[in-house]
């Protein structure tokens, strides 16, 4: 046991000390920070008009004269200047634009000139007002009482989705849950892949550098495999912990910057807070650890069977297939139907459960028995793959120059000590 600890220590320390590890710890949260800042910036920029805008209106139809109302930061000025002259003035003023309404505005599009591309809010405001005016005009022309019609149209129904649970009703807004579910699926999928591949590369390194024979004259192959898997796993957990801590800090900062009063991001952040992150994080840790143990053992067996990384292809494919399959299903189908029979089954089969269950958990409402069964199956699953992998590994690490096939691996499995 002592020797396994030594191996874990070496695997952990040599990896954590690498420059790439330290760089990754800081780069990823910075990316998240940068991305959320960018999203916030874009959202803010396109939703709000920050500076007063002046819109010169050239109305050849004379139908809109005096009817365009000034809105927040938008001022309409009617003018009789010819279009060409009005456009001249745009060149040195970014906050000025020209609205040209032709006589036949219903068939010829209304034109909006400005130096920069105008924001959607500005063109949207103009459009809304013009539609309103135009339909009022039409109604007046047809002798319809606009006051009555407006009164009749003024009903505002909004559907508020409520979910009935044992403890009462709760807000069932699925948008943020969906986001978290997909994020979890992507995260766990990448994590299983990245750290599994690290185990595999470690095994291949030991085999090609031929140190393996020295090591297994001191420890049993199983101890070495276990030490490596646990060591790399701890590296993964360290990295995640660092990322989560740094990301929380960075999104706090970004959130602070983005959530001014009336900011659209504020609403999303608010609903995000209703999601039970502690529970999700707990599930994530459980499925990461068991899923990692399950897959990294298989990756270790693959590493032991080959002489170089280029030979791993044929074995990698069947191993990663269930993972890839669930991942694709998760981001395309499962998140829309987290309680469908397919989702339930996938979240119970150990090979697909880490991804499938992590999509379902953020939606809440996974029955306890399903969660329990899934977790139980995960534990059975990783014990099983570790047993199979260890039997292949102990033979594989000493085999050189033999092109291993699946048949060969099966043979190795049945070798006696």
């Amino acid at each position: 046991m002592n020797k396994v600890l030594l191996i874990i220590q070496r695997e952990y320390i040599t990896r954590v000390r690498k420059k790439s590890f330290i760089v990754m710890i800081f780069v990823v949260p910075l990316l998240i920070l940068g991305m959320s800042a960018l999203i916030a910036f874009i959202a803010k920029d396109s939703m709000e008009i920050s500076k007063p805008q002046i819109v010169k209106v050239i109305d050849e139809s004379h139908l809109f004269e005096g009817k365009l109302k000034n809105a927040k930061n938008i001022q309409f000025i009617p003018t009789n200047e010819p279009v060409e002259k009005a456009k001249e003035g745009l060149k040195d003023n970014e906050d000025l634009s020209v609205l040209l309404i032709s006589k036949d505005y219903a068939h010829k599009p209304v034109q909006f000139f400005s130096k920069k591309k105008p924001s959607f809010t500005l063109t949207g405001e103009v459009e809304n007002q013009m539609n309103e005016i135009a339909s009022t005009n039409t109604m007046l022309a047809n002798h319809i009482d606009t006051a009555l019609l407006n009164k009749a149209k003024k009903s505002k129904v909004s559907v508020n989705a409520m979910e009935v649970t044992e403890t009462g009703t709760k807000d069932a807004n699925v948008g943020p849950s969906m986001m978290v579910g997909i994020a979890c699926a992507i995260f766990i999928y990448l994590a299983l892949f990245i750290y599994g591949a690290q185990v595999m590369r470690g095994v291949i390194e030991e085999k090609t550098s031929r140190i393996i024979e020295v090591i297994i004259s001191s420890v049993k192959p199983f101890q070495l495999m276990l030490g490596k898997i646990i060591g790399v796993g701890l590296v993964g957990l360290t990295q995640f912990t660092a990322w989560i801590v740094l990301s929380i800090i960075s999104t706090k900062i970004a959130g602070h910057a983005a959530s001014g009063p009336g900011s659209p991001m504020g609403g999303v952040l608010e609903t995000l807070q209703t999601i039970p992150f502690g529970f999700i994080l707990g599930c994530f840790l459980f499925y990461f650890i068991t899923g990692y143990l399950l897959y990294s053992a298989l990756f270790a067996a693959v590493g032991s069977a080959v002489d170089s990384e280029t030979e791993t292809q044929q074995f990698m494919f069947p191993i990663t297939l269930p993972l890839l399959f669930t991942y694709i299903l998760s981001v395309s189908v499962l998140f829309r139907a987290p309680d469908s029979p397919l989702a339930v089954w996938l979240s119970i089969i150990p090979f697909t459960a880490p991804v499938a269950m992590m999509v379902r958990v953020p939606f809440g409402g996974v029955p306890d028995w399903q969660l329990g069964l899934s977790m139980f199956m995960m534990i059975i699953g990783f014990l099983f793959t570790t047993y199979v992998a260890a039997r292949i590994y102990r033979v594989g690490v000493l085999m050189y120059g033999k092109k291993a096939s699946f048949k060969e691996l099966a043979k190795w499995f049945f070798y006696k000590e």
Binding site: K3, L6, I7, R10, T14, E205, E206, S209, R210, I211, I212, E213, V214, I215, I216, S217, S218, V219, L398, K411, K416, E417
Partner: protein, 301 residues
């Protein structure tokens, strides 16, 4: 020290070891010889408990081989290798700790060895920064750092330049004088004659010869002698009590003949030659291990 009894090891396609038994005496240097693919490495792996035999037993100091013996064996595999990206000092300590040493013990001993082999400036270097010969030296140190009772060396001299090979040979002899039993496999027959007390020859999964080097060589004597004389070249008419195998003319009027005796003794040869010429030397030819090796292997092939 080490008693190997009736070992059989079967692999899928072939039998690597077929009923092999050996006795390695304590404090001696034992040579394990055999052509490539004879089963030497399979046997060494069994002694190191890397693999287990299908049948047969190995006894270490009278006890059946078990996990506790791992720390008393040092093993240098034929295919050398260390972690390329790890610092050499740290790596040696890691390997020694896997063999049961504490960190402090390992550090003290490693400093001693580094000093002894002129490696002190290497401590912080990574393996990939060292030359192949330097790596071999480091690996040798890793093999013996935990002061094993039994040192198993698979082709220990391959990859060393003559100077370092000599250095390592001296270290092996010193370790042996200090009480370690050495088991090594090699193709270099001159090193067998120089170092080994006993040998075993394995060919096609079977042991075909074993014993003390002196006994084996003596038992392969076949009444062949070398005679060197000065004077005119002799001609033999068939009345001489020996058969002439070859004649070589040397410098300074000297000649060497290789002869094979049938019934006569060395004394008869001298008696016959004395009146005819001046004899410088008469020496019995003892076959080299190389000759015996080739003869035995070819006999079975």
């Amino acid at each position: 020290m080490l008693s190997i009894r009736n070992i059989v090891k079967q692999y899928a396609g072939h039998r690597a070891l077929d009923d092999v038994s050996l006795e390695v005496e304590s404090g001696k240097i034992f040579g394990l010889l055999g052509p490539n693919g004879a089963g030497k490495t399979s046997l060494i792996r069994i002694i190191n408990q890397i693999t287990a035999p299908d049948s047969g037993e190995v006894y270490f100091n009278g006890h059946k081989l078990n996990q506790s013996h791992i720390e008393r064996i040092g093993y240098l595999p034929e295919e050398r290798g260390l972690y390329k990206k790890m610092e050499i000092g740290e790596q040696m300590i890691y390997l020694a700790r896997l063999k049961g040493l504490t960190r402090d013990e390992a550090t003290t001993r490693l400093k001693h060895w580094f000093k002894k082999l002129d490696m002190e400036t290497w401590w912080k270097k990574k393996i990939e920064e060292l030359s192949k010969g330097m790596q071999q030296k480091a690996q040798f140190v890793a093999t013996v750092l935990h002061e094993p009772d039994l040192i198993i060396l698979d082709e220990p001299f391959s990859g060393f330049d003559p100077v370092n090979a000599e250095l390592i040979k001296d270290e092996i002899l010193e370790l042996n004088r200090n009480g370690a039993t050495i088991l090594f496999s090699t193709h270099r027959m001159e090193s067998v004659e120089e170092l080994c007390d006993s040998i075993a020859l394995i060919h096609k999964s079977r042991k075909i010869l074993d014993g003390r080097v002196k006994h084996i060589r003596n038992s392969y004597k076949n009444e062949t002698y070398l005679v060197e004389y000065t004077g005119e070249q002799l001609t033999f008419d068939g009345s001489q009590p020996f058969e002439v195998l070859s004649e070589v003319a040397g410098e300074d009027n000297s000649n060497t003949i290789k002869i094979k005796l049938s019934d006569a003794s060395a004394n008869d040869v001298l008696q016959y030659l004395l009146p005819k010429t001046r004899i410088n030397m008469l020496q019995e030819v003892i076959p080299s291990m190389n000759e015996i090796f080739i003869e035995k292997v070819n006999l079975i092939a």
